[in-house]
Subunit: 285 residues, 6 copies
């Protein structure tokens, strides 16, 4: 089982427990155990789908006899009214799993859809749109997957797997008389040789030290377009260039046009609008 | 410790682990262990605050020496630029806890702020604005708390603690020749006497059976305003009346004016826009 | 899998671990791995059965090759000598699961049997016999299930899902000049509209305030029979009436005859006498 | 922290979660956060106390500001009306912890009290009264502790730490032409030298093989008094002698008088009658 | 599932999570999902195998479609170049499970191989070679199994299941005027009758008290060969005799020749040299 | 609390539970609860220390009243007889924590000591000695810490945080007509820009493609010394150069002299010899 699928199974298990600590009193008392149902997940608006594994996990964990078919691929674009999956099995289980399946598929499809709009906005530029650590607590692996489903790419996973030296870090060292270049050299000598080192700079002038210290990526934070262009020119391919801050669907194309390599967008995950998906249930003949 | 606080501590613990499975390589290699920092959480837009416990938990779990002061009360309204809390302690810990504290406070304040707008829109009507089960997996207790912080009220917590007989439930029974009134009587006789029974109806005519069956609450789903008024009149105080479906900030006042008791709003939690809060860090002199 | 079954699986898993943290040294060293056994669970006294899921879980978790057949339904009455289930499979597993299967089936059948006696004692009265929160720590879902298997009904599940305002709660408020009716109105306005509110009263005179406050259920605690009758008359159908305190198999019929709706009996679960069940093992030919 | 105390803390934590998955809605909505209460645990019948650690854990886990004083020692005998502990602190916490503290203290005191009656019945005989594996799932460490508090002793903890070769085990081997003595020799050679080997025999004649095989303890199962005496004489101090089966408060003295070393009594834990203890709450002046 | 197998599954699960918290980025991005591979675990040096269950668990947990065949039995001796198992299935899974399977099989085979050398060194003496509590944290059940696979035997599992009264314990009591014999008698009277009591002595003279107190096993710690012989003679079969301290492959035969029953060797597990095993992968045609 | 310290606490907690599932029967029955002890951890051979946090955690978790003083710093070299820490507190706790503290400190000091010997062997060369994924399951964070304490550096933490494209990976792609350079470019385009890409090559000729594909590190696996020199020259600073395979204390200096940047040594952690440390206990006056 892939690490992503394992994460989905874990999230779904916790969500089901949260949603019914001692059972679904409505279904258990109203619906006969032997009643079956068929249902469809239907799009009430257009978008890009993500979360198929969550749909499968929600219904299968509730009742392993439930069958999910016609599940569209993650990353597929769909229009209003599209059927995204069919669910068939014991009615109690279908009703029990519905809310959790939708809660996750709506959110993840929301992430994928928004990401796809950013990616489309920079199409042809060669720039990659990436996420940030502004993810929902507990859902990072799922939301990062949804970003990829929408055509985006991921930034570092966590604080453990890559360095991001921000202004605050550098300020602490500056206060002790240690410059950026020296700080980066120290990092390089104590970290694994496999650890990527990214540095945030707020002004064009800071780029020199970042380059001197051997940064792998230089993040230009909240730079005006002209400054982005100047930064790209100054770096000249010696480091990956990331733009960050103030990125919207309106501004992203212009930012991409400055020649940066990567644009990171916190909004991809920090303000997820649930896509409007519904479950239409039919009794099985 | 209250159940809410316990939930916050648990969510924060998982979020910190997710955000740094084997430590914060940047801070640990760049920031001296003995360096201190002071920081402020500052509002970059106005809103209603929620998530103080998450801020405390994030920093205290990272380093118990960190002190949080001047934390505004949950439910307080604030303007752009307001300082919502001050954080003081070891710089490594302050930098380590920042993202998790913000990720939670931004989301919960987003929920509280949106809720407050709905509540304001129905002010004076006596109607209560309530949440739904469309919460973020894993965060239900936190988001429900934020709804209350914004002046809203909660619906049932889960599938376990109250009945909500929806159209699909009733359709299954109808197919077996069992009417709504009879179904509700059966529920009443098998459930604990403490279990509240709510029924969803889609048309005014269904209200008769719901009343006959002794429903505690009747939910009028996607009713036009005129139908809502007719439903309220028909029920005549014999059950709580809940309106649901198609509720927006534009429509909510008119819905409230129909005389319903409760309006449930999925958007309070299913599409949380993170409020823009930032952490301004200063080195301690 | 139903919430009850999940709870059973969890309890059995913990019980098996507790009973053999590093294996069953007797069976593993004495019994050949390939030896099979058949066994029967036999009643050494009469009663009402509960715990079939625990029997299945105990043997299946130990060895998935074990087959359980002829398992009597939960809620079935049986006489001395009755065979309640047959177990067939690897001898090591049968011997390993025996104690845990019996420990649970004996207790749950004990609960069901006692409950059935209370239910029989009030037969025809229309009164429901319900349990309380005096359950064995960790086994609440199982014991509540056994109460239902014995023909009883359940009270609220926990402190989270319904209000029970007891004398102590009301006394605190009285000390602040807040009467019962006012307290109940405050509860109603802040709790979800789906939360049932029950109030305990110790004297007939307190009933007026409970009714005025809109209590859903009024519990008459330790009332004499005459007072119960007076209380029932006074309430007049405006709230559910629960009798509690001093309920025994000798007194329960007279209490039921007073016209109360519900009688709660702590003894159903607080003092479980294990029913005498045994496992007769035979080697498989 | 002792292993017993750790087990108590774990059981209490699970019990509190089970009893209020999302808080105590009554206390949280009715009782002011700043109200204090004092309370006493009072005996409504006489007995022997056990469970002091559970009382402490229940209240301290709920609110660390609660103070428990005048807690009687485990193993103390007390009369009706005795005060077993005083609890003082925030009223919400006192009300929240009450049921869990009592549920455990009542059960454990029930075990201790029953054990003490068995021990008293054999006083002067030098025989030890011991428990069995017929404990409540999840509570073995607590119930075994209560047996000791009542003056009893413990048998092996689990299937992992000592051998008990029962008739079924031996029958499997007999079917393969392996006698008891040979079976015991095989056990001895493959088990750790520290593993105690006990054999169950159903007839006096089986004792010879048990002795020949070098059993450490021989359990005489369901022996008549005369046979017990014969068995004791035959064994002649070469193994510990345990009597089991059909032991009641009426028969235990006669069994003890046969000269056996140990009498195991399943009833000590398999049918715990909760001792009647109550919590009298007073508001703090 | 045996307790050993359950422990293996648990250790493997944790190891896989530790080795790839959010997936194997190399295989997932480089290897097509549909590519299959066959592989062999090959011995690069001779030894005794242990850890077959770990090999199975590692690959099966990663992908249940992987098949393990030709797995040699635990306890088998093998030469350089021997194939110990064949693995066949999806290439991603084979590559993902490789390191964990080898990490465990190499260590456990290292334990088995070293144990076998000790056992061979005392062959014919009737002495048993046993392990100690000097096991790798978290791996005790696995390493004890490997000792048995190598022909050794186990000592007590833990501090819970048998007494080992060491010099420090006895010194504390001596300081209070309590001698060894009296201390052992006290232990005997308060412990379960199934608890084996072992005493450590440092000088021949201490043996008298140990015998008088009724020790089940007497451990002669760091005794010279002559003293071991004297101890054995003095004990004369009244207790099991264990030798401990300074045991090496060079000295163990001479120690065994003194007539002791058991020799405990910490080195079996405290300094595990991983046996050199490799995984040769081939693409499946 | 640092991520390392949290890992230590977790490992120690599991180890204590494993070592005494239901308490330390020897100490609890022999040692008076009020007896105190002082003890010293003493080196029985020279080495480099690691594991101070494990010593603290073992004793503090057992009894928070135990005080650890004079603990030498991780990374300190010491001679035979050196006192590495003093422990003072309740005797039961000191005896209970001893084995776990030593089991961990001995292993971690073994890792640090061996690492220090490798580091010393390449002193002055500027080469870094790094660990591998051949760590003990469950102890990776601790063993990697010990490598650093010994003066070594770490390689990637896991399969999740950096790419290592081995011969098997590349062979799969080659079979599909995809060369190494193309494979690396594909990796680069789909992975986060922060992911370091390392490629293993077995022959000098493969280096060209690795360079062409833009590898960050090129690992020369089992190269002869001359080939290492040739590889270093060919790479010419365009990638980090790692040597691996056949590294021993005898060969490491010559390997370092070839000009490689990094030498990875599996033996640092796969065959940990426990350093001989003991706990000398004294009763407190």
């Amino acid at each position: 089982m892939s690490a992503y699928r394992e994460a989905v199974e874990r999230v779904v298990r916790a969500a089901l427990a949260e949603d019914a600590p001692w059972g679904d009193v409505t279904s258990e008392h109203l619906i006969p155990a032997e009643a079956d149902a068929t249902a469809s997940i239907v799009a009430r608006e257009s978008g890009v789908f993500a979360g198929g594994a969550a749909v499968e996990a929600a219904f299968e964990q509730v009742d392993e006899r439930i069958r999910i078919t016609d599940l569209v691929d993650d990353g597929s674009a769909f229009g209003t009214g599209a059927v995204l999956a069919r669910i068939e099995g014991p009615a109690r289980g279908v009703l029990r799993g519905e809310r959790i399946a939708l809660n996750l598929a709506q959110r993840l499809s929301g992430v994928a859809t928004l990401t796809a709009r950013y990616v489309a906005a920079v199409e042809g530029s060669g720039v990659r749109i990436v996420d940030t650590r502004k993810t929902t607590p507990g859902l990072r692996m799922l939301e990062r997957y949804a970003v990829r489903a929408g055509g985006g790419r991921n930034h570092r996973f966590s604080l453990s797997d890559a360095v991001m030296a921000k202004d605050n870090h550098l300020a602490v060292l500056a206060a002790q008389g240690i410059g950026t270049a020296e700080a980066l050299r120290r990092l390089r000598s104590s970290l694994p040789h496999t650890t990527h080192i990214e540095v945030e700079v707020d002004r064009v002038e800071q780029i020199h030290e970042a380059l001197e210290g051997g940064a792998d990526t230089i993040m230009l934070d909240n730079f005006a377009l002209d400054d982005l262009r100047a930064g790209v020119a100054l770096i000249g391919g010696r480091a990956v260039v990331e733009a960050s801050g103030g990125v919207t669907l309106e501004t992203v194309a212009a930012i991409a046009a400055t020649g940066v390599d990567v644009i990171s967008v916190g909004a991809l995950t920090h303000s997820v609008r649930a896509l409007d998906l519904g479950l239409d249930i039919a009794l099985r003949a």
